[in-house]
């Protein structure tokens, strides 16, 4: 979220938080799992259609570093959540996550997630196929330009690798139904906030940027174990 928008976002966020505290009754509901699918009119951050994520590499890649980061993100998911994974030799219309490298995203946009096949009429909406597009050139741009929030414009060793991993982890997280991690808007992130669903640039001050936080892991665990527990929850 743009800094110039954060002050009013805090006010709105406080209202949403208050409402959430009032109505939340399901498991791990302090934020809104697959929230943006709540009215069936949104395809971002939907829940997976099952606990097996089939994935593929689609299109051309400029080098091996990004593919390695994508493999790392998949393994990170499989090792730290209830989700399982399986690589498909070729991408198809029903592949859960189709990794792509692009160099055409707008300024500062390092990755994008788009669900291309929503399923199910209820809540949370589920996604059967999605594209996760990563723009390495934009990751490098942000790291080299202090005009962007969080970047000092001087990439240290490992900083590019860290942010490449944070972005692949982030886009994959959307395919698990995770939302952006924006709390609090008006303060730098503390240790609790450092995870890969946080947007903005990550300086290499800890390994926390490569993880999903406990709350997100609880969400996907609870959803996979019993999706009906989330029916109607927003």
């Amino acid at each position: 979220m743009a800094p110039w928008r954060r002050a009013f976002a805090v006010a709105g966020g406080a209202l949403v938080l208050l409402m959430g505290l009032v109505v939340a009754s399901g498991p791990a509901a302090a934020d809104d799992y697959a929230r943006l699918c709540s009215d069936g009119n949104q395809t971002t951050g939907c829940a997976p259609d099952n606990d097996l994520h089939i994935w593929c590499f689609g299109g051309q890649f400029s080098g091996e570093d990004l593919r390695a980061s994508m493999r790392w993100a998949i393994n990170n998911m499989a090792n730290n959540t209830v989700m399982r994974e399986s690589q498909a030799g070729n991408c198809a219309s029903d592949t859960d996550v189709r990794w792509q490298e692009v160099d055409s995203l707008p300024v500062g946009v390092q990755g994008v997630y788009v669900c291309t096949d929503e399923v199910g009429p209820g809540h949370p909406r589920q996604c059967a196929a999605a594209d996760a597009r990563i723009d390495t050139s934009e990751i490098q741009r942000v790291g080299n330009d202090s005009d962007f929030v969080g970047s000092d414009g001087n990439m240290e060793p490992g900083e590019l690798d860290l942010n490449r991993d944070r972005v692949t982890c982030h886009e994959l997280g959307h395919s698990l139904g995770f939302q952006h991690h924006h709390r609090p808007y008006y303060e730098p992130p503390d240790a609790h906030d450092k995870d890969c669903m946080y947007s903005d640039w990550a300086e290499p001050d800890s390994g926390l940027w490569r993880r999903y936080n406990d709350h997100h892991r609880d969400h996907i665990r609870d959803f996979i174990n019993d999706p009906s527990r989330f029916d109607g929850e927003v």
Binding site: M1, A2, P3, W4, R5, R6, A7, F8, A9, A11, G12, L36, D39, N41, Q42, T43, T44, G45, G58, G59, Q60, N90, C91, A92, S93, R98, Q100, E101, V102, D103, S104, L105, P106, V107, G108, V109, Q110, G111, V112, Y113, V114, C115, T116, D131, V142, D147, F148, V149, G150, S151, V167, H170, E171, H174, H180, Y186, S199, D200, W201
Partner: protein, 232 residues
């Protein structure tokens, strides 16, 4: 938030209207959709030359329409975003309509509609940066994840928007573009907006929506989302 901007950029929509009062669609037939006579039975919508007041939108609905989630590093201010080299055009204008656009897809995928696009046409009311004039029409490409009617309903003709625009993607090693000229008259430039660069006004005093961020900001003023100019 940049509080300096917050306190100094209180420019009303009325002022915006005043400086763009010369906007006259009828005087700019070459770029206005109203001048396209090639398909008289499907004339595109028009808007009055005077922007008037911003109509209300269903902010929560608009915030959910753009089914794309961007992970991005933010720029500090509207001025920083406008000044960025890739930002070639910054305008305030009004939505005309939505049309099916090109199809972007990775070459090796076997699902050629991997990334269908739509094109939002917007009539320019105020130019903050770039080569455009009031009354021109700009064409902005977006991923489409809902039926076009949903966008037309959420952002009906006349909805006030602010846009920071870059050149739209072109074919490259990673991406093939199908039906490249779709969604706009032949020869018209296609643009793309980033997550900070697409702002929808919800009425005159009800705040703004950032569709790519799925974010409603009821306390925000539309004009504060655009950088100051000498004219504004």
């Amino acid at each position: 938030m940049n509080t300096r901007l917050g306190t100094t950029l209180i420019v009303t929509i009325g002022a915006l209207v005043a400086v763009s009062g010369c906007a006259d669609v009828a005087d700019r037939p070459s770029s206005s959709p109203t001048a396209d006579q090639s398909e008289p039975t499907t004339r595109p919508p028009t808007v009055p030359s005077d922007p008037g007041t911003a109509p209300d939108v269903d902010a929560e609905q608009v915030a959910r329409l753009w089914g794309v989630s961007y992970d991005y590093a933010a720029l500090e201010s509207p001025t920083a975003l406008a000044d960025y080299a890739e930002t070639e055009l910054v305008i305030a204008g009004r939505v005309l309509d939505f049309q099916p656009g090109p199809i972007y897809f990775a070459e090796t995928l076997d699902h050629p509609e991997a990334a269908p696009q739509m094109v939002m046409s917007v009539q320019v009311d105020t130019v903050v940066k770039g080569d455009a004039a009031p009354g021109d029409t700009v064409y902005v490409v977006n991923d489409v994840t809902e039926p076009l009617e949903a966008y037309s309903k959420g952002l009906p003709t006349g909805t006030h928007v602010g846009l920071y625009l870059e050149d739209a993607p072109v074919e490259n090693d990673n991406m093939v573009i199908g039906d490249e000229g779709a969604g706009r008259p032949a020869g018209e430039q296609l643009w793309i907006a980033g997550p900070q660069g697409f702002i929808v006004a919800d009425g005159e005093n009800d705040g703004v929506v950032f569709p790519y961020d799925h974010d409603v900001a009821p306390q925000a003023e539309f004009d504060e989302q655009l950088p100051p100019t000498e004219e504004r």
